[in-house]
């Protein structure tokens, strides 16, 4: 699935005392986005939940897992504190099971909205904190969005595929070439 990889540049993001340790263990942040009370909209948070237990069992202490309803301005600060960031969100796009794209910065923010796009979060990171780490968006295909906790069977199958892909990635957290569509 990966078309190519590139090692992360972590040393310039740490102070000298942490250099030796950080050069081995880049700080990785995986962020599930969505509302678990809205069927397949909960794909991102459920992925985060699954990865949380796995990361602990694997002893991958430099991988931080979190989830929230949507991206907000303060996430720019969190992005700035990591060497690799992976957002995961349910998608209504016309993709087969999942897709991975590199998030490029933008300053375009919609009218009166209370959430931010991944692109605008990266844009804000650049303005406030300088060069951001590589940021990716994992789009997981969803189908139903009603008030219910139960996800569709197809969405869960997509999630299973994504989970394998992400776990493989997190064992070797490097930059990857995108787009990827599966």
């Amino acid at each position: 699935m990966r078309m190519g990889t590139k090692s992360l540049h972590v040393s310039d993001r740490y102070d000298s005392e942490a250099l030796e340790f950080s050069a081995i263990m880049p700080r990785v942040f995986v962020y599930g986005i969505g509302n678990p009370g809205r069927q397949d909209d909960g794909l991102g948070p459920l992925l985060a939940e699954r990865l949380e237990g796995w990361v602990e069992s694997e002893g991958l202490s430099d991988i931080k897992i979190d989830a929230n309803y949507q991206l907000m301005a303060e996430d720019a600060h969190t992005v700035s504190e990591h060497d690799l960031v992976i957002f995961a969100d349910a998608s209504k796009e016309d993709i087969p099971s999942y897709a991975v794209s590199r998030v490029e910065a933008t300053g375009n923010i919609g009218f009166s909205t209370h959430s931010m796009t991944a692109e605008s979060v990266v844009g804000l990171t650049i303005e406030l904190y300088g060069t951001p780490p590589p940021v990716y968006m994992v789009h997981i295909k969803g189908y139903e969005w009603e008030y219910a906790a139960e996800m569709t069977e197809q969405a869960l199958q997509n999630l299973n595929q994504v989970e394998l892909f992400i776990k493989d990635w997190l064992k070797n957290p490097v930059e990857i070439q995108t787009p990827i569509t599966v």
Binding site: A73, E74, F111, T117, S120, L124, W145
Partner: protein, 483 residues
Amino acid sequence: MSRKITIEPVTRVEGHGKVTIHLDKAGEVSQSRLHIVEFRGFERFVQGRPYWEVPVLVQRLCGICPVSHHLAAAKAVDVIAGAGNGDGLTVTGDKMRRLMHYAQFFQSHVLHFFHLVSPDLLLGVDADPAIRNIIGVALQHKDLAVQGVMMRKFGQELIQATAGKKIHGTGAIPGGVNKNLSIEERDHFLKGADPLNADKMIEWSVAALDLFKDYYGKNKDMIDGFSHFPSNHLSLVRKDGALDFYHGGIRAVDSEGNKIIDYADYQDYTNIIGEGVKSWSYMKFPYLLSLGEEEGWYRVGPLARLNTCDFIPSPLAQKEFEIFKAHTNGKPNNMCMHYHWARIIEILHSAEVIKELLEDPDLQGTDLVATGERKDEGVGLVEAPRGTLFHHYNVNEDDQITMCNLIVSTTNNNVPMNKAVNFVAKAQMTGQTEITEPMMNMVEVAIRAYDPCLSCATHALGEMPLEVTMLDADGNEITSRKR
């Protein structure tokens, strides 16, 4: 030829709004309407569910202010669980909920001011929308943008510490809370390294107020004159008349400050508030029954709260409240843009209350839940950041919800938001043949003052373009403009 102009901030998963401005044959604005599609499916969805699930279930409604729904529902199920009407919780239970609630206020108002309003103030309401946003602010006022980001982070982390988690918090349960605040958690927020501590949050809140007042001093005519009209005002107030976001009785005042209702028990809200309907909108139009549908509409939210309360129970915010009240000689303030001023005073008050609560050893108490005689019906009200939020539930003998009615803050502000748009439309669009960017900006600014939650959706990421379409009397498009 009569025409209709449509401004449509379009779709999210559910909930979207559009503005239609109707021109008569002479080109005068005859009517303006803000249409917000309100998704009512939740009230049916919750029927049949056990009542104790409701405080968590309701967070499915909205990813913008889930804590408000969580606590309003919890207060309603407190009544059902026999834990009293806002006065029956343990000291720790009450104060933990308050800490959660004031953290929600803090971060929500901060988002609105720094993210949505400061671009208007610092870059100008006529600035290109492409740069009139938080990134535009970051380019020119980096320190301020950093403050906004870190204040949000402080509030969000405090919510997580009190609600248990960011998504679908479980902190409030029927009759109380499921956790207290540990010493470690307390010290993290009270004495954390700069900037993430309560003192810095207060300092930055004062700075935000100074920023607004400086802008106001230079733009008084615009701020005072932009969409001002008299209205009634409604909120909860504490028994002694103090501002209280978490609990109190319903107070309503008219545009001159005369009390229409004072400290009414909200369990009786159906005898106080009516919910009108219009053929052109799915959203209801609440009004005071005693005044009737035509005269009984009211404002809610920061401006209304500062118009209904007698004082603010924290020292720095009280000083600012006195300045705010002096501006209208103690009378209610009916100026739309003063919502922003009121909102920042509430940011300061929230920060002060958060510090006061963090210093209170009751938060480390272990008596978390109260119980009592079960009832079949409960109403819970809180002041949400955008205004008064009503939750009402009936349950059967099997503890299942049989009826749910919600009146959310944005619904309470339905009439005044329509009037605000109409005010701006008449000033900006009368006699015009073209929709310009400044016209669209003005409509945006009017709506934004109320901080409506046009979308409770949490799936779509931040897309809310603004589209204006001009139609002739037959519905044919004359011209359109989109951003």
